[in-house]
Subunit: 100 residues, 2 copies
DNA sequence: AATGTATATCGGAATTTCCCGATATACCTA
DNA sequence: TAGGTATATCGGGAAATTCCGATATACATT
């Protein structure tokens, strides 16, 4: 758990937004529900649309968040679904009180 | 409380070190104890020495941490003492669970 | 095999961050 | 007032980040 890498990942408004959206996908991505549900998270395209940035940028942001350990992904067919890694946030919350 | 600004402030190894040092000044800055104690924190010069960066860099890092609300300062004579703002860390810890 | 769709990766321009040396400001003492 | 010490601010080169368009890869369908 590289602290600096985690905080860098969180140092961007769009990435914070994405994390907030992934917390309540049923609210922020209602369009996906009927297709696949949210067990595996939300696919890149849905996130990209909502973020209003290019596909390449959003894909890189998600990869960055994953390298930091804040999200996890599942590939299903041509879609990659991203979901939050809640354990990482719990850990981070504690770490801020104990180590930072 | 600007989340991005806070996470940017934490996205640097030296600044994280400084915050950790200020958590236990009596351990990391034993030289200052006999002079002034630690009620107001630690002066810039002591922190600079320990960080091993230039005076200007450390001064700017402390100002940056202060703008993010993570530390507070007290001027006494020619010295500026910096100490942690523990309330900010408590808030941040909770914020990571509730908002991020 | 050929085409279409979803995502990842590459190359790069613009901006920001990192960290420095030089200089300015504040305060203290003789 | 002059000189010394502590800190803040300024200007800038190097490196990292932001975000893009173009291209590559992966999978599905026909």
């Amino acid at each position: 758990m590289d602290q600096v890498e985690i905080f860098k990942a969180l140092s961007n408004k769009t990435r914070l937004q994405i994390l907030a959206w992934l917390k309540e996908p049923e609210i922020y991505f209602p369009g996906q529900l009927e297709h696949t549900g949210f067990e595996d998270g939300v696919c890149v395209g849905q996130i990209q649309q909502k973020a209003g940035l290019t596909q390449s940028t959003v894909s890189e942001y998600l990869a960055l968040l994953q390298r930091a350990g804040l999200v996890q992904s599942t590939r299903k067919g041509q879609w990659t679904y991203y979901r939050r890694n809640e354990a990482a946030f719990e850990q981070l919350s504690k770490l801020i009180l104990s180590e930072v």
